[in-house]
């Protein structure tokens, strides 16, 4: 064999040398070179990126190490709006903690100094955190949250010179839209010690998070997923040494798609914020739903809170501030608060009279300044009456109290409370949000049980116009107008449209009818028309009549609380109804029902009507501005 001639002009090796050369040995040499360097490179990559237990180390079970099974927390599902925008997601955050028991006092100063440099933290602050803790020596003390990945890496690597210091990775819930939709999305919080024991069978531990509000709470099971199990080696102190393997992989949580589009939510919020600001009050609700299937279109409840405050671990000061606010920002007033419904409850009274054949649509009632019952005068809200006689729908459109009282005397309390319950009052709507309350439909049985007497006639009259003992939630009012629009179906309102599972399959939420009002079609039609009359009545409609929409409406003013020095009561404003696609009120094809509630407004006009107009003009993209901000000035002239 002749070796290659690489030396130009030079004679190659002599024949003797060529004979003595052994090509095989050079091939062997080449192979050794290749294997050595390839082996070193491979080993380097294996140490860095391979499984931990291939690092040339053997298990140390004999040295007090134990193998234990540990739960693997699955990734929590996302929450998306109707258009697929992310409303709740997870980010990984690192946190640094110290177990004081592993940190001897002799090296503490040095460790704290090094840690301070890595975390860019004042060492004095770390010392303070350590010294302030009164817990067990082995209970880790949180030094820093939201640590950068680089810093966490450095600390991990330095653990030989940072005894007692450890890093943990946590999934942090982030809510990109924060306050805008926090009442619907809710938030997660860490499980506390008391809950941990009751939740333990479901696989929760004290380090886990659980939904606390909104769909985070009501869909906790779907969002959470199924925890997996892994085997880990821990040392004698129970600290993780290495991960040995996954026994059962976790199934990540399902994602929720809401029925709410964030832009629709923004419209409701904008209208409500404007109204509250101009009426100089703070609490209110704007909500809308599709009467055809119970899907919530928007649900704004103010004041609100930033759910990101909670997922990051809320400071006590901030939490106390939320709690101290008299308007309860942590409460979704749409489902979690009840108020007297005021005249919006006249839907119940008038439909009840019609459906029980106590009146006909053409029956006329005298509109007088007051009605005397048991020697007491009950005044019309304008203290004058509306002149002459009124049909029920005309009275409804004026929101006449005197005619309502006359109807109430015909209906009597038993039928009235039955009709109230038929429209869904007095019971939760079953919406897929936590903390919904029932409200109250008073009847004789309730009165005897609660106030130890029957209801007086005057109280029955009050009940017929949504005052007295009547208590409703805004979602119930919304649901009653949705049922009016769809001819009687009381949907279980829902904010979740579909659930997307970890494997990609989608389960749509099927609309569920929670009940039926059970009245005649003619009654619904007459009441839809009555609402339309109200919306067209130039005075009471407060300008809605001018809007190019087929709005059916019922307003309400509900007094509450205690009289002021002039004998006036503060009041809330309500507005509820729906928008029909055509002017044919015999049809039940509306896809938009709404409710507006304004707490403690005491405004010259009905603040809820102003917000309704603004909300509708935003929702239907009307070019003209129908608002009349002057009516949001302080007034309190209603003596209803």
């Amino acid at each position: 064999m002749t070796p290659p001639q690489i030396y130009p002009g030079g004679g190659g090796p002599s024949e003797r040398e060529v004979r003595r050369r052994r090509p095989l040995r050079f091939f062997a040499a080449a192979l050794i070179v290749l294997l050595t360097f390839g082996g070193l490179g491979g080993r380097l990559l294996l140490i860095q990126f391979g499984a931990t237990n291939s690092s040339g180390a053997t298990t140390e079970v004999a040295r007090g190490h134990r193998i234990v099974e540990e739960l693997i927390t699955p990734a929590r599902g996302l929450v998306l709006d109707r258009g697929g925008r992310v409303l709740a997601k997870n980010i990984a955050v690192y946190a640094v903690q110290i177990r004081p028991g592993d940190l001897s006092l002799t090296v503490r100063a040095q460790v704290v100094k090094t840690l301070g440099e890595i975390l860019k933290m004042d060492p004095v602050r770390i010392i303070t955190l350590l010294d302030r803790s009164t817990g067990s020596l082995w209970e880790p003390i949180r030094i820093a949250n939201n640590v950068s990945e680089r810093a966490a890496r450095l600390i991990d690597e330095e653990h030989a010179s940072l005894p007692g210091v450890e890093t943990v990775v946590e999934a942090r819930r982030v809510y990109p839209y924060g306050t805008l939709i926090s009442h619907i999305v809710g938030y997660v919080g860490r499980i506390d010690g008391v809950e941990a024991s009751t939740l333990a069978p479901a696989g929760y531990t004290v380090v886990d998070f659980i939904g606390r509000a909104g769909v985070e709470a009501s869909y906790e099971e779907a969002l959470r997923g199924t925890p997996g199990i892994r085997q880990v080696e821990v040392d004698a102190k129970g600290r993780l040494v290495r991960i040995l393997g996954v026994t059962k992989p976790p199934v990540d949580g399902s994602s929720l798609t809401l029925t709410i589009d964030i832009e629709a939510q923004q419209r409701a919020t904008t209208a409500l914020e404007w109204g509250l600001k101009n009426a100089r009050t703070q609490e209110g609700v704007v909500a809308s739903m599709n009467p055809q299937n119970g899907e919530i279109i928007a649900m704004a409840s103010l004041p609100t809170y930033d759910n990101n405050d909670f997922s990051a671990g809320i400071s006590n000061a901030k939490y106390q501030k939320y709690l101290a606010n008299e308007f309860s920002p942590l409460l979704n007033h749409t489902v979690g608060s009840y108020f007297p419904p005021g005249s919006t409850y006249k839907l119940v009274t008038y439909s009840c009279a019609l459906n029980n054949n106590l009146v006909t649509p053409l029956t006329r009632f005298q509109s007088t300044a007051y009605l005397e019952v048991d020697g007491e005068k009950f005044y019309e809200w304008n203290r004058a009456g509306f002149g002459g006689s009124l049909t029920p729908s005309e009275a409804y459109s004026w929101s006449s109290n005197v005619v309502t009282f006359q109807l109430a005397r015909l209906i009597k309390i038993d039928r009235l409370s039955t009709c109230g319950r038929q429209w869904g009052f007095g019971a939760p709507t079953g919406i897929d949000l936590p903390s919904e309350i029932s409200g109250l439909v008073p009847d004789q049985a309730w009165a005897r049980a609660t106030i130890n007497r029957g209801l007086y006639n005057a109280e029955v009259l009050q009940s017929a116009q949504g005052q007295g003992y009547d208590l409703v939630t805004p979602i119930q009012v919304l649901n009653s107008f949705a049922a009016l629009a769809n001819s009687g179906t009381l949907w279980r309102p829902h904010v979740v449209l579909s659930i997307t599972h970890a494997d990609g399959t989608v389960t749509p939420i099927t609309p569920v009818a929670n009940g039926d009002v059970g009245m005649r079609e003619s009654t619904y039609r007459e009441m839809r028309l009555a609402g339309r009359k109200m919306a067209l009545n130039p005075g009471p409609s407060q300008g809605i009549s001018r809007m190019p929409l087929f709005v059916s409406a019922k307003s309400g003013t509900a007094q509450y609380g205690v009289r002021d020095s002039l004998g006036r009561l503060p009041y809330h404003n309500w507005m509820g109804g729906f928008v029909a696609p055509t002017n044919d009120w015999s049809k039940n094809d509306s896809t938009f029902a709404y409710v507006v509630f304004m707490h403690g407004t005491n405004t010259a006009g009905n603040a809820a009507k102003e917000v309704t107009k603004y909300y509708l003009q935003l929702q239907y993209d009307l070019k003209r501005d129908y608002r009349t901000p002057g009516l949001l000035a302080r007034g309190n002239f209603f003596g209803e």
Partner: protein, 375 residues
């Protein structure tokens, strides 16, 4: 006359620039690591005693030695092989008597303020002697007499180095002996016989000669977790540093606030490098060394004379062995011995000696033996 036809131009054309570039990049990496380590140890960078300045000094010296040796005809070295061998033995004896501990296992004698580790130079000079001797022997067989002669040449420096005690360099000498014999064509059975003898001597040494701390170091890599607080601590730290480096490392700034690794300027320089520059940095150095070794093997294979075959092969073995043991101990696959990573470790005399040896291979190529008969 074309410039390239001048003797210098002709020489420059024959230089193996790939190997030279690999050496240059490794030396640059070494300077970078010296800078990083100086920062890591908290040294003032521009003082005469800082790692960086000392490393630069040695690197400049290495460049000078490399350049001059490349241009000088290798035959001069071969001619003076035996006087150089004798001087080397003498230097080792002087070191043994007057040398001071240089921090690792190597003993050094101070010349002009620089610590000279004579054991490093002995690797090259012994290899020169072996190559010269085996070339001169008229060997029809490539048999026993080659083996005996080579063994006789290696024995004195080997024993003197072991006595220092510099176990690492002694092992390099043995490896070089094997590489040279194997590539020079000595019959397999004799190489195998020598291997058995060395193994037997190793067992004997384990029982009789080695100190407990040396045994502990040698065994540490088998199970570094056994006693994290003890001598295995070094390897554990090394493995952690490598794992912590990730793909791109913590960077120079990130590294500067980390606790230095044990002997991170020489023994654990590779772990420090991976910690700072990640797997990318580690693979870069591995690839450079692979290129260098491959070029040496290629020189050996294509050498027109016996000296080139043996010497280049021996040098390839030296670099390969040092690389394997140094990186291997960083990665927990080889025992912890005080062997430097060629040019990347702060090795002082190690870098200069290797530069001399590698330049001799260059010189052999430049002044190729083909045009003149063997001496």
């Amino acid at each position: 006359m074309n410039r390239l036809d001048s003797p210098l131009g002709s020489a420059l054309r024959r230089v193996d620039w790939v190997a030279a570039a690999a050496v240059g990049l490794l030396a640059l990496t070494g300077i970078g690591m010296a800078w990083l380590n100086a920062r890591s140890y908290g040294q003032e960078l521009l003082t005469p005693s800082s790692l960086l300045v000392r490393s630069l000094t040695w690197t400049l010296l290495s460049i000078a030695v490399y350049s001059v040796t490349t241009l000088v005809n290798w035959r001069w070295v071969r001619t003076f092989a035996w006087p150089l061998y004798a001087a080397n033995i003498l230097l080792l004896i002087v070191t043994l008597i007057y040398g001071v501990d240089s921090g690792g296992n190597n003993r050094a004698i101070a010349i002009f303020g620089l610590a000279i580790q004579s054991s490093e130079l002995s690797k090259i000079l012994t290899l020169v002697a072996i190559s010269t001797a085996l070339t001169r022997v008229d060997r029809g067989s490539g048999g026993l007499q080659d083996l005996v002669l080579a063994g006789a040449i290696v024995a004195p420096p080997f024993l003197l180095v072991v006595a220092q005690p510099d176990l690492g360099t002694a092992l390099v000498l043995i490896a070089a002996l094997f590489g040279a014999l194997y590539l020079s064509g000595v019959a397999t059975r004799w190489v195998a016989a020598l291997a058995s003898a060395v193994a037997a001597a190793g067992v004997l040494a384990w029982v009789v000669v080695l100190a407990d701390y040396q045994k502990e170091r040698l065994l540490a890599f088998i199970d570094p977790n056994a006693d994290p607080a003890g001598p295995k601590y070094q390897l554990l730290r090394s493995l952690e540093a490598i794992r912590g480096g990730g793909l791109f490392g913590a960077g120079a700034d990130g590294t500067s606030i980390l606790t230095p690794l044990p002997v991170q300027e020489s023994d654990f320089v590779f772990a420090a490098l991976v910690r700072a520059f990640g797997a990318v940095g580690g693979l870069f150095v591995i690839v450079l060394l692979a290129i260098l070794v491959w070029r040496l093997v290629w020189h050996s294979w294509t050498s027109p004379d016996e000296f080139g075959v043996i010497f280049a092969g021996g040098m390839a073995t030296v670099i390969l062995f040092q690389t394997f043991v140094n990186i291997g101990m960083n990665l927990g696959v080889a025992p912890i011995t005080g062997i430097t990573l060629p040019f990347v470790s702060y090795g002082g005399a190690s870098a200069v000696s290797l530069a001399f040896g590698l330049a001799l291979v260059q010189s052999h190529r430049v002044h190729d033996g083909g045009s003149s008969p063997l001496m």
